[in-house]
């Protein structure tokens, strides 16, 4: 019987690599958590890609309203981008501080990340408020609908990230660098960096391409 044949061999080295490549059993918690969170991030990126697709479909549908090049302010966007990219750096510093259990640098890194995130949100909010006050709100045209939704969706994610960040500071403050809290910190960092990557796409597709006259 085929079964008895395969049993016993254990197939420790099926590809003759010269070393055993047997599966060793369940992965440690740190790996499992980070892996699951990566899968979540991928699904989140799929969701963003729908809004990107909608933007691509609707970008020309201005319904006699303004085009992108007429409403985007490159200077604002540049400042926003710098804020967010810098915040990714400071978030990385906070992660390292957490890894070496240094509270001072952890708090400092997280605080700067928080301030930069809030600065980003403030600039974005002002841009939105300004557009709405000029009558260029999301219900003006399908193009503006797609623009507000895509950029706003990213903004909502940053808001959620800031809330999470504050919870993380509070957790480290109350409980210290426990293993489960370090795992959460790792997930938070992944989330924050992913937002950065998505912003790079938003920045390129919406503001750079759309900003061209």
């Amino acid at each position: 019987m085929a079964l008895t044949a395969t049993y016993g061999h254990a197939q420790a080295d099926p590809h003759h690599l010269g070393r055993a490549v047997e599966h060793l059993g369940p992965a440690p918690k740190r790996i499992v958590t980070a892996y699951g969170f990566w899968v979540f991030l991928l699904s989140d990126i799929v969701m963003f890609s729908c809004f990107f697709a909608a933007y691509a479909v609707l970008v020309g549908q201005t319904a006699d309203g303004p085009k992108g090049s007429e409403i985007f302010e490159q200077r604002n966007v540049a400042i926003e981008t710098v804020c967010l990219l810098l915040s990714s750096f400071t978030c990385g510093m906070a992660s390292i501080a957490a890894d070496v259990r240094n509270r001072f640098w952890f708090y400092l890194g997280m605080a700067v990340t928080c301030v930069l995130g809030l600065a980003f949100l403030t600039i974005e909010f002002r841009e939105f408020a300004d557009l709405v006050s000029r009558g260029y709100g999301p219900s003006r045209s399908a193009f503006l609908t797609a623009f507000f939704s895509l950029v706003g969706c990213h903004g909502l994610h940053v808001t959620a990230g800031v809330l999470w960040l504050l919870t993380m500071i509070a957790q480290v403050f109350a409980k210290g660098f426990r293993a489960d809290i370090l795992r959460r910190m790792m997930c938070f960092a992944l989330f924050w960096h992913a937002l950065d990557i998505i912003w790079v796409a938003v920045f390129s597709v919406v503001y750079l391409l759309g900003g061209a006259p």
Binding site: G36, V57, Q61, A142
Partner: protein, 666 residues
């Protein structure tokens, strides 16, 4: 204060929903009262509602699905009766009520019957088959289940408070836009799917991580049972497809709530974008449902033929091929909307290609049976019934994948017959097979075979009498969703379909009777071996029902059909068992997080549907508070001491050895 909600929301003038709703409410209160009076509430709370045990959560998923199957089934009965009597007459249902019924039937059957059934099955079985103690994220698992329950609750609320969508199960715009559907029906639809969709995504992430990262020693990818493979494929699809549904429904909701223009007729909106997005989710969804069923059939056919699965590797390849190709065919759902011959041809060919890996699977099952010692127990009956039925459904599927044919058959009863053919013949037969097969594992006693066989035969024949006439009616030009009609040629077929529905209903009754009879005779049906079917994979290596930690040790796997190999090995060793040292086991603590989340989600969903904004804010704050409280827990695990593990495991082994020696004596 209460937004759009007032007394006019309750349909006092419509007896059917009001009476149905009243009966359901009385039923719910009776059950609740019984639970409270009998003092079962603490037990329910500690052992089930707050449980994070994957087996319990799996059972609760399937319980939810069964209840909703009755609800969706009643809708189906009402529709079949309506179409049987509405030749040159209005029938007994007013049009707007009929439209709600077919929308609710589709929505419920896909999202709240088929999905919870397959997710429940995967939850229950996959960690056992992988030889591990739980899923990757146990508490999240509970959250996922309870959010699904919230969605189901909201759909059922629409029966008595307000109305449900009249737009069909996918709420195509512009019909579903505020201009044409000003009521709360579409909002009920969208919010319940949004909330349960989050639950599904969570379950998907959980199971993908479980299969990829939690496998026992030696369980390499090509040693996994087939059901684990199809679970992996199905959950990869969930993770990739459900965010599309979330985004699409979010866009529709933005259109409806804030006057956005994604899919409107005005200001440049594009409703064809909705078709593309919704089917980019919707087509993979079909395979999310049917792949786990394929896995169940693989397990059942191999076990009841007493042979390893034929062509295991080609089976894996076919599964993953279906997983990938299912994302490349979505446009065949709207061939008739003018995409042009080139696009239609490409998507038509891609759609037909899926038949190839599916055919590979069918042949593999047949070859597994060939030369085997086949036992026709109930799960095997469902599997063979599936093979016959699914081939018919697959062939009509290839037919509608041909664009010119689709131009004739699009939106006809032929299509209705086709997708019921594959969903009932594939998914529902699959979960019934799995239900019969794994029930002893979950509860420790087998199901009554006679009632099970009766249920199979009535459902099987009922299915054919119901849906074969619909193919013919479709060929005769009958379109779907007709409230009444004037063509005499369709009438007999509608009549036969109604008869078939009656036979199907008898099948359902047999299914219920089977449960009742089996529970009553549970002592005679008790499964003491943990392995009632002479199974092949690891779930049969532990006792039935399994202890909370599943396995005292992580089993050591050396090949496919791990438990079969263990049994052979044990026989060769004359059952000599070396004494082992037991260790403490760490298990996740129960947590009410899932239930509390769903509580707030229900209020928030209801408030959003009725525009009760203060309640929305309150619900949101509650959800955030739950998150923080959960994050603040200090002890999320508890220890089962080695002594206790040893006691449980030794008594199981003892039981098993006694049975084996008794069998040896005979």
């Amino acid at each position: 204060m209460l937004g759009k909600l007032d007394w006019s929301a309750i349909p006092f003038d419509q007896p059917i929903p009001l009476v149905a709703g009243g009966v359901v409410l009385v039923g719910i209160f009776a059950v609740l009262a019984w639970v409270v009076v009998k003092g079962h509430l603490p037990y329910l709370w500690h052992e089930w509602i707050t449980s994070v045990d994957h087996k319990r959560i799996g059972v609760m998923y399937m319980l939810l699905a069964s209840v909703m199957l009755l609800r969706g089934g009643s809708d189906a009965i009402m529709m079949r009766i309506q179409q049987a009597v509405s030749y040159q007459s209005q029938g007994y249902l007013p049009p707007e009520h009929y439209n709600q019924i077919f929308s609710a039937h589709g929505t419920i059957m896909i999202f709240f019957v088929a999905m919870p059934f397959v997710i429940g099955m995967m939850n229950l079985v996959v960690p056992l088959q992988l030889g591990v103690r739980d899923v990757a994220f146990p508490t999240l698992n509970s959250v996922g289940f309870w959010l699904t329950a919230t969605g189901a609750l909201l759909v059922n609320l629409s029966l008595v408070i307000g109305e449900f969508a009249r737009t069909g199960w996918l709420a195509f715009p512009p019909l579903s836009e505020l201009t044409y559907s000003p009521g709360v029906g579409v909002d009920y639809y969208a919010w319940s799917l949004q909330i349960s969709g989050v639950g599904t995504l969570v379950a998907g992430i959980n199971l993908v991580t479980t299969v990829l990262k939690l496998r026992t020693r030696g369980m390499s990818y090509l040693h996994m049972p087939m059901f684990c493979w199809t679970t992996l494929a199905s959950n990869l699809l969930i993770v990739a497809a459900f965010p599309i549904l979330t985004a699409t429904l979010a866009m529709l909701l933005l259109d409806r709530y804030l006057g956005f223009h994604f899919f409107t007729n005005e200001a440049g909106g594009n409703m064809m974008m909705f078709m593309n997005l919704i089917w980019a989710w919707g087509h993979p969804e079909v395979y999310i449902l049917v792949l786990p069923a394929f896995g169940i059939f693989s397990e059942v056919v191999s076990t009841f033929s007493g042979k390893p699965l034929f062509g295991y590797r080609s089976m894996v390849l076919a599964t993953m091929a279906i997983c990938v190709i299912s994302f490349m065919v979505w446009l065949h759902h709207f061939f008739t909307m003018g995409a042009g011959p080139d696009v239609n041809a490409i998507f038509g060919i891609a759609s037909m290609i899926i038949a190839v890996p599916t055919g590979v699977k069918i042949y593999n099952w047949l070859f597994t049976m060939y030369g085997g010692r086949i036992r026709f127990a109930t799960p095997m009956l469902w599997s063979v019934g599936f093979m016959v039925t699914f081939i018919i459904g697959g062939l009509t599927g290839v037919l509608v994948a041909v664009p010119p044919a689709d131009f004739m058959l699009h939106n006809s009863m032929f299509l209705v017959a086709h997708f019921h053919n594959v969903i009932i013949g594939g998914v529902l037969f699959g979960v019934f097979a799995g239900f019969e097969y794994w029930f002893p594992k979950a509860f420790g006693f087998r199901l009554d075979e006679r009632w099970g066989k009766a249920a199979f035969w009535f459902t099987f024949t009922g299915f054919y009498i119901t849906f074969m006439p619909l193919y013919i009616a479709g060929m005769l030009g009958m379109t779907r969703r007709l409230q009444h009609y004037d063509v005499a040629a369709w009438r007999p077929w509608m009549f036969w379909a109604a008869i078939g529905m009656a036979v199907l209903t008898i099948g359902v009754i047999c299914q219920v009777m089977q449960l009742v009879v089996s529970i009553r005779n549970r002592e005679q049906l008790r499964d003491r071996t943990g392995d009632p079917w002479d199974g092949r994979s690891l779930e049969w290596a532990t006792s039935s029902p399994p202890p909370v930690f599943n396995f005292a040790f992580y089993p050591d796997v050396r090949g496919e059909d791990a438990y079969w190999a263990q049994k052979l090995h044990a026989k060769q060793q004359q059952f000599e068992h070396e004494e082992v040292e037991y260790q403490d086991i760490e298990m996740p603590r129960n947590s009410p997080t899932g239930f509390v989340c769903a509580f707030f989600a229900s209020f928030m969903g209801f408030a959003l549907i009725w525009h009760i904004w203060w309640m929305v804010i309150l619900g949101g704050l509650g959800a955030f508070a739950t998150f923080v409280v959960f994050a603040w827990r200090d002890h999320d695990e508890y220890i089962i001491p080695a002594v206790e593990v040893a006691a449980i495991d030794r008594s199981n082994l003892e039981e098993r050895r006694n049975l084996v020696s008794m069998a040896g004596a005979v």
